[in-house]
Amino acid sequence: MEGILNRPLVCIALAFAGGIALVAAWGSLSLWALVGLLLLSALACAWRRNPQAVGAALLIAGALAGGAAYSLSELRPRSDVSLLPEGGQTLVGTVSGVPRYSDGVWRFALTAERHEQGAGSEPVSGVVYVRLRSDRPVARGQRWRLTGRLQEPRGERNPGGRSEAAVLSALGASAALSVGGAELAEPLGRGDLSPVSAHAFAAQRRALGLLERYVGGPYRELTAQVAASVIFGVHATPPPSEITEDFRRAGTIHLLVVSGAMVSMVFGFVFLPGALGAGWRRLLVERQMGWTLSGKGRVRRWPGLLATVLGVAVVLYYAILTEGGQAVARAAFMGVFVGLAFALRQVPAVAKEHGLNIDPYTLLGVAGLGILVMQPTALFQPGFQLSFVAALSLIYLTPKLERFLPGVPRWLRIGLAGTAAAQFATFPILAWHYGQAPLGGFGANLLAVPLAGVVLAAGMATCALGVAAPPLAFLPGWVTGISTRGMIWASSAFASIPWLSPEVTRPSWVVIVAWYAVLVGVGAWLGRQAMATEARS
């Protein structure tokens, strides 16, 4: 990718990720190799003192840091529930996900606090996915003592992928606890949730109720469930498996699990009006390599700062509300950094001295580095890989693919090129992790993604009006319902064509590397063609 070596933060993020991958693949031997390389490069720096040697040393140091962080995360003595032996166990913890109830069984995530054995107990950490056979109500934030059969989570181990893996990994749970009856579950009162989390959970409960009440159109209950999944994630009120299966086959399942795009939209809803109010008429002027904040006319500082603070706060609140995974973390990171960049722009000295270019590659690199520093093993999670690869493809390939669509309106051109770029880029990851190649993803996403935006905006308006002016909430409720039905229809239509979602065997890493080499090569070639055309004209 052109100019990537000129972005130090991106290079360090890549080196950090590379260090994690190296140590994960070859163990501590690669750590010692990196230490040796670092020493050699330090010696080279001392000897030659040229900038390239210093750069190489920094990169090796970054890789070493990544490898060390991964080793530490693996070696750190843990008291995780996953380390407890399988079988009968008693755990005390707080309900940390929205409990679901069906067929006499409660299902919820429990953040474990203590493991009890006989008269003694010891602190434990981690999240368990609980199946509790009981009619007694269970609420988020409650503390429980539960006795049941603890099991290692089952991964994506069967066609259909509706084994425990999908649920557990999304909830961050490392084990499953089956509790056979109400007599084995003892409520211990309200948990020690932070006030913000407690507020977010209560707000989510209320919002779900409002959606169920006001969403209009055919099949209201089902439509409200799907709309709630789009706005708050699939844990909120999971739609029936037939619907989620269709979304999975059509390659639109990301719309039901709160993706980075949703976080960006939420950020945009709050941030853009304030920023425009601040006088930035063309807030994001797209350049070849990134975005530039620019303004015309008088700049009002306070609306801009207010938009920044509100945007960042809302994004963080939304991330808690939706219990988001890696994609939400990435988008939240990026949103916070855009906010910070905007806030810095308010400082005249900074703006005058440096201008303010927001480089999307650097933004993505910093977000990735932030997540990997906090959780090195995230590198191997499909959510992390899909989110970053999709975002990178949108930044890198979309402008280049747009060239193939001359004469098409810009909004449609971006949609078409962006969807194609994301499909090309995520293809090998989907095949690797899920054994499927959703070929219909291009068409399904083209229809469903804009509708998801409408669902998000109209759904939030429904919730807001449901609180402030209930008689008016039916209007956005109908819009939410109709657009949700449209999403379901689009996904079902593409999923019903069998050859559009074939199962594939897991591709080898050679194929994956070759695939991305081709994508990068095609992107570079298209970029050069564009530059040549510009030069000629």
């Binding site: 509790l132 056979r133 991964g155 069967n158 084994s163 299966e245 074939p502 594939v504 065997t505 070759a514």
Partner: protein, 310 residues
């Protein structure tokens, strides 16, 4: 690098990617598909013939699943049927009425139209079996009594032969229900697969001494690989290229036994296990076969393949 060379390199890479993807799709499209589901310490096998006919052998289950609230039929078997676009089951085979084989079947019979049930009709008065039979009666699904010698066509020359149980049923063995389990041999040209149910020593020796050859390309290993089923005579007669063991992770019985693994190794079989590989899918496209696991705990699936001379 000149632009012409760059283009050439890109074309070569593109061709390589397309070739490998093509082979990956080729491996899974068309042909007879057998999927040994990861149903924990139980059996559930889905057979999909190119003619569109489908057969489900057992529905998994686990002891105490009722109490735990976990229904393997609802959690594993039905989603798998859904994912594989199975809208009806032409034949549902109950190999024998043990909980780890029938536990998930009630949910399946409830949700999916079944045309025929093949049942050995062994004596068993467990609540699960009674409920399942009641559900089958309520749905008015025809039931055929399984017995040796039955031949069933799955279309396109794919045939299924029932090798066990005999008539009259075996009695006085170490485990009558297991030894009378339905055993079937599926043949597709030169390729074949033996579904050995839960047979133990007596049943296995019967099959080994079956009049015709029982040599099979793939063997669904009997009784989750227990020591009681590790019969050298039986495994020597079957001589599988691939042995699939349907077994739960960390099961309390210690399955599969080291004896079974040693015997399989002795006859030169490659082994795939549902506790390690996840659901194992075997695709037959004579004379070639492919097998792949749905994933392991570390997220690495395996693909095996082979070819049998006609």
């Amino acid at each position: 690098m000149t632009i012409r060379r760059e283009r050439l390199l890109l074309l070569i890479l593109l061709a390589a990617v397309i070739a490998v993807w093509w082979s990956a799709w080729g491996a899974v499209s068309g042909g007879l598909l057998v999927t040994v589901l990861d149903a924990g310490q139980g059996d559930s096998i889905l057979v999909q013939a190119p003619s569109g006919k489908t057969m489900l052998i057992d529905g998994g289950g686990a002891r105490g699943q009722e109490a735990s609230g976990y229904d393997v039929g609802r959690e594993v078997v039905l989603p798998a049927l859904l994912a594989r676009r199975v809208r009806k089951i032409d034949m549902l085979v109950i190999t024998h009425p043990h909980q780890d084989h029938i536990g998930g079947l009630k949910a399946v019979v409830d949700a999916v139209p079944v045309k025929l049930v093949l049942d050995p009709e062994l004596k068993d008065d467990s609540a699960e079996y009674r409920e399942l039979k009641a559900e089958i009666r309520r749905k008015k699904i025809p039931v055929r009594r399984a017995t040796e010698g039955q031949q069933i066509s799955l279309g396109d020359g794919i045939r299924l032969e029932v090798l066990n149980p005999p008539t009259p049923r075996l009695e006085g063995t170490d485990a009558d229900a297991n030894n009378n389990a339905v055993v079937m041999r599926l043949t597709d040209g030169p390729l074949s697969m033996l579904f050995a149910g839960d047979i133990e020593k007596t049943g296995a020796q019967r099959i080994a001494r079956w009049g015709k050859s029982v040599q099979s390309t793939v063997l669904k290993v009997p009784h989750h690989g227990s020591v009681g089923s590790a019969i050298p005579e039986f495994l020597g007669a079957v001589r599988p290229k691939l042995a699939v063991i349907s077994v739960g992770a960390h099961n309390e019985y210690g399955h599969p036994s080291q004896e079974m693994l040693d015997e399989l190794n002795r006859v030169g079989a490659q082994v795939m296990r549902t506790d390690r590989d996840g659901a194992v899918t075997i695709k037959f496209r004579p004379p070639k076969w492919w097998a792949w696991g749905y994933g392991t705990r570390k997220g690495k699936g395996r693909t095996l393949s082979g070819e049998v001379s006609r």
